[in-house]
Subunit: 267 residues, 2 copies
């Protein structure tokens, strides 16, 4: 009857201290995500892209199209994390309030900007750059434009806050263009194994591996498939040899429990 | 060249004051969601269920399996919103730290509880209630159990915080059992229309409708489909007649722009 209680906080502190990773927060702005009608696709997209250069998403928030809530969230997150990425609310309609919120959060003025206007003027046929579209050239003072190679309306960066649209396809190309400008860290590698093993059977062994290898974060994510209980056992670390040691021990544990690895994935 | 700039903050203040809705926050706990490997399904699920009894999800946060981050988020959210629903981290493995975090957030002790243990004892065949499974009977002092009719391991409520597992199927049945215990508000009805109309074309008219009907929240959500720009125009209100007026005006606007409604949905 061993005590498998782990000091998880210490593991993470150790992990964070070891890697000294830059961190990011994602701020998803939009009533539609909160109401449940639209499922967000940008968090996993941003987490994947940023993770590839060693920037971990450490927190995400979803907030409504509500100025004071957005302003407060921007200010809370930009203090806490190396980078903040916002998605949504920079289009031409009345509910697109993100640019104004960012200006307010930083306490700077916002107005139409010539370089942003020039981009839109070049993109739209003569006469089609109407007042609504022109709103997308309103940029907070001191911001740097983030180019949008698809639909042209730019995002912008102010301080450590990167303001992106809500459409995932645009987020994807715009972040691709940004990556080389960001300061990455050590990439966290992942090795995951899935097996039809109840979490409670593997828990003691898994806890022991976590205790022995604090530089690896080991997560267990249960699933029910075809009426059978299983778990995805996910090891993550910047230290590849410790990661492989952890994964090997998880594999041994699964075999000892008389079952087999159903799926295995490295990234 | 009218000025279509709207005072969106006032619209929302008006909306909130009119409806005096109870609010909810959803706190999604888990490294796997933040790393982008797993897409959250619980936010939209909870938003739909709670919305059906007039409780709006006003904010969501995704945080890692990190005690201090979880504790801070719980305390920030329980102060701000009528209800807080957490998902994830109440299983039998070392990374399941939610119950401890909730105890810490409320400053109360946590220990094995007889009623929770009895539920697990009844569920598992003799000898199968191992130490790891027994961890799921650790409940903060003063909490009320939330029954889990499927896999039995209970959630719990402490104050205004409802602690649920991460598996969406379990969240669904457990929230269904909770709904009658929650104090709902006026239900926010939705009427949405989708059309292949560029947002910028419809923006001025849409802004005018929003100005005229502050008790309706009108959102515009652009999409690109088959290379064509369109928008979902979503009207939301507790006031059904104002909602229908808004939707009718949006329909007229779409027709005036020479296009047609591709999809329409009421809920």
């Amino acid at each position: 009857m061993g005590n498998h209680k782990l000091d998880t906080a210490s593991c993470r502190d150790y992990f964070n201290a070891m890697t000294d990773q830059p961190t990011a927060a994602v701020l998803i702005i939009g009533d539609e995500i909160l109401s449940g009608r639209t499922k967000d696709a940008n968090l996993s997209l941003l987490a994947g892209k940023l993770g590839s250069i060693g920037i971990e998403v450490a927190e995400a928030r979803v907030v409504p199209d509500d100025e004071s809530v957005v302003v407060d969230a921007v200010n809370a997150l930009r203090e806490k994390y190396t980078y903040v990425f916002t998605t949504g609310g920079i289009g031409p309609t009345h509910d697109d309030i993100t640019a104004d919120c960012i200006a307010k959060a930083f306490g700077v003025p916002i107005d139409f900007r010539d370089d942003a206007r020039a981009i839109l003027e070049e993109h739209y046929p003569t006469g089609e750059l109407n007042q609504s579209r022109l709103r997308m050239a309103r940029i907070p003072d001191g911001a740097e434009l983030i180019l949008n190679p698809v639909s042209k309306a730019p995002g912008f960066r102010l301080g450590n806050v990167y303001v992106l649209p809500g459409i995932p396809m645009l987020v994807e190309v715009m972040v691709d263009g940004l990556l080389e400008k960001l300061t990455g860290g050590d990439v966290v590698h992942t090795h995951s194994l899935a097996a039809f093993v109840p979490e409670s059977h593997i828990a003691p062994g898994l806890g022991a591996i976590q205790n022995d290898l604090p530089q690896v974060r080991i997560g267990s994510y249960p699933f029910l498939r075809e009426g059978k209980a299983g778990a995805n056992l996910v090891c993550r670390s910047t230290d590849v040899s410790a990661l492989e040691e952890a994964a090997q021990r998880v594999r041994t544990l699964i075999a000892e429990l008389g079952t087999k690895v159903e799926a295995e994935e490295r990234s």
